[in-house]
C-alpha cells in the first residue's frame, strides 16, 4: 500500500478525532498487545500496535546457557506450538554439530509437529469464534485440543512446554498403546471437522463478519513478509514443508490449502483445511513408523558446537519460524536470533486497520493469529 492509497481510505468528512486504547489487557488481543487507535467516528485513521509487554529476553538468556538448556527456553516463545520451537532450535544446532538423527526420531518429530499444529489451529478456531461472538465452537475446539494435549502428556509428561524434541533425536520413545490412542483420536477428530464447518465456517452470520473484511493482496502480504497460513490465504503457494522439505516431510503426500482473496475468512478457512492435511500426514506417519533408536549418538552432556553460523527454518503453525545461531566454539551460543512469524505478521496491522470500521478490528486481529509470547520473546 502506498501513501496515497492510505490517504484515500480516510473518511472524506472531517470530524473530531478520538484516541482509543485497545488492550493491553483486552481479552481479544490474545495476550498483552496494546493498539493505540485514532478514530474519526467509526473509521480508524491511525493504528499503532505497541508490543513488548511480555518481553523476557530469551535470546540474551540463551547466550549464557548450554545447548540443552536452550531447548527448554525455546518452549516459551510460541507456547501454543512449542514442538516447532524445539524442532527449529535442534535443527540449527544439529547443523553446527553435524550429528545424525535416527530414522525413527525423524518420523516421531513430524508426528509431534503435526499434532501440535492441530492443537494450535484448534485454539485459533475456538478463540476466533469467541472473538466474533460464537461461543459453542470454542467448547468443541477445546475438547479436541484437550485430547491432543493428553497425547502429549502421555509421551513427554507436559501439556504445554514439552521439551520433547532434543538434540539428535527425541526425548523418549512412545509409550505402549500410544499409537492406538492416536489413531482413535484421528477417527474422532475427522468426524468433528465436519461439525466445525456447520458450526462456524459456513454460518451466514460468521460469513458476514469475515468474508469481505481485512483483505490483503498477495503483493502486500509478500511485501510485509507474511508467511504461513496468512500468506497462503492471499493465494501465494508457499509452504516450507513442500518446497524445502526438512526432517522426513518429503516422504508424505499432502496438499497446501490456498485462499482466494486474502480476506479474514480465507485466513480462517486456510487453517481449518490445514488441519485436514495434518490429519492426512499423521495417518501416513502412523502407517510407516520405522523401528530403531530414538536418540542419536554424538551429543555430549555439555555439548559444544563448532564455530560458525547456522540458519534453520521450519513451517511453524504461524509461518516460517527461523533460527540464526552463531557459535564461537563454546558450550553456549554466541548469538541466537529468532525469526518469529507472529512478530512479522503483526507488523502489517498498522496499515491494514486504517480505513476499517472499529467493529472489524477484532475480526482482523484475530484472523492474523498472533501469539504474544513469540512476538515479544
Amino acid at each position: 500500500m502506498t501513501e496515497s492509497a492510505t490517504e484515500e481510505k480516510k473518511p472524506k468528512l472531517k470530524s473530531d478525532q478520538m484516541f482509543v486504547n485497545l488492550g493491553p489487557q483486552h481479552p481479544s488481543t490474545h495476550g498483552v498487545l496494546r493498539i493505540g487507535l485514532t478514530i474519526e467516528g467509526e473509521i480508524i485513521v491511525k493504528a499503532e500496535p505497541d508490543i513488548g509487554y511480555l518481553h523476557r529476553g530469551t535470546e540474551k538468556l540463551a547466550e549464557i546457557r548450554g545447548y540443552h538448556h536452550c531447548v527448554v527456553i525455546s518452549d516459551r516463545w510460541d507456547y501454543l506450538n512449542a514442538m516447532g520451537n524445539n524442532m527449529v532450535f535442534c535443527m540449527a544446532t544439529e547443523k553446527l554439530m553435524g550429528v545424525e538423527i535416527p530414522e525413527r526420531a525423524q518420523h516421531l518429530r513430524v508426528l509431534m509437529l503435526e499434532l501440535n499444529r492441530i492443537a494450535s489451529h484448534l485454539l485459533f478456531f475456538g478463540t476466533y469464534g469467541i472473538d466474533l461472538g460464537a461461543f459453542t465452537a470454542f467448547l468443541h475446539a477445546f475438547r479436541e485440543r484437550e485430547m491432543v494435549l493428553d497425547l502429549f502428556e502421555k509421551v513427554c509428561g507436559a501439556r504445554m512446554t514439552y521439551n520433547y524434541i532434543r538434540l539428535a533425536g527425541v526425548m523418549k520413545d512412545l509409550p505402549k498403546d500410544w499409537l492406538n490412542e492416536c489413531q482413535e483420536f484421528l477417527t474422532f477428530f475427522k468426524e468433528r471437522l465436519v461439525d466445525y464447518d456447520t458450526l462456524l465456517s459456513f454460518n451466514p452470520i460468521f460469513l458476514d463478519r469475515t468474508k469481505k473484511v481485512g483483505i490483503v493482496s498477495a503483493k502486500d502480504a509478500l511485501d510485509w513478509g507474511w508467511s504461513g497460513p496468512n500468506l497462503r490465504a492471499s493465494g501465494v503457494d508457499y509452504d516450507m514443508r513442500k518446497f524445502e522439505p526438512y526432517s522426513s516431510y518429503d516422504k508424505y503426500e499432502f496438499e497446501v490449502p490456498l485462499g482466494k482473496d486474502g480476506s479474514c475468512w480465507d485466513r480462517y478457512y486456510c487453517r481449518v483445511r490445514e488441519m485436514h492435511q495434518s490429519v492426512r500426514i499423521i495417518e501416513q506417519v502412523l502407517g510407516g513408523l520405522p523401528e530403531g533408536p530414538t536418540l542419536g549418538r554424538g551429543v555430549a552432556k555439555v555439548p559444544k558446537a563448532k564455530p560458525g553460523e547456522a540458519y534453520a527454518a521450519i513451517e511453524g503453525a504461524r509461518g516460517d519460524l527461523g533460527i540464526l545461531l552463531v557459535s564461537d566454539g563454546n558450550s553456549s551460543p554466541y548469538r541466537l536470533h529468532v525469526r518469529a512469524p507472529s512478530f512479522v505478521n503483526l507488523q502489517i496491522l498498522q496499515e491494514m486497520l486504517v480505513g476499517q470500521k472499529m467493529s472489524d478490528v477484532i475480526a482482523i486481529l484475530g484472523s492474523i493469529d498472533i501469539v504474544l509470547g513469540e512476538v515479544d520473546r
Partner: protein, 172 residues
Amino acid sequence: MIDYFAEIWNTFNSMLKGMAITFKTMLKPATTVQYPTEKLVPYEGFRGALLFDAETCISCNLCVKACPSYCIQLENATNEETGKKIAKVAWYSIDLGKCNFCRLCEEACPTKPKAVWHSLDYELTFWNRDEMVRCWKKGFDFVGMYFNRKEKEFKKPDGQVQIQTVQQRFIY
C-alpha cells in the same frame, strides 16, 4: 425480495443446524470434571513437583549443572572424624519458584532409583516466598521442608495440597 427471504431462511437454517450439533452433545456424558472435589490423576511420567531422596543421592552435582534456571543447590557432607568430603549431601535445596519442570535434572541423575524426580503432583501452591525453596537433609521426607525465616526453623510446606504424597520412581 426473494433474496431477502432466502437470506433469512439461510441464517435461520444454519442456526438450527448448529443447535442440532449442540443438542447431540447435550445427551453425552460431560467431558469436564468438577475440580476441587473431583481430581484427575496425571499419566505416568507427568512432570509435576520435584521430590528428592537424601539417602540415595551421591552428591555428584550433575543435576545442578543440568538445570536451565539454576534452581538447584547442594552441599557435600563431610566425614566428621577425618574432615574429608563423602558422597552424601549435607543439604539439598530446590527453588520451585524458578523450576521449569523440564526433567533435565531427573535425566542427568546417575543413581538408580533416581535421587531427584518429578512426582505426579500438580497442585503446587505456596502461601509465601519462603515456601518456594524446599530443603532436604538426612531424615527429611521426599517432599522436603522450607525454612521459615520468622520463626527460624524448618517447617512442612502447608501450601502444597498433595494428591499423592510419595510417588514411585519411574525408571527410564
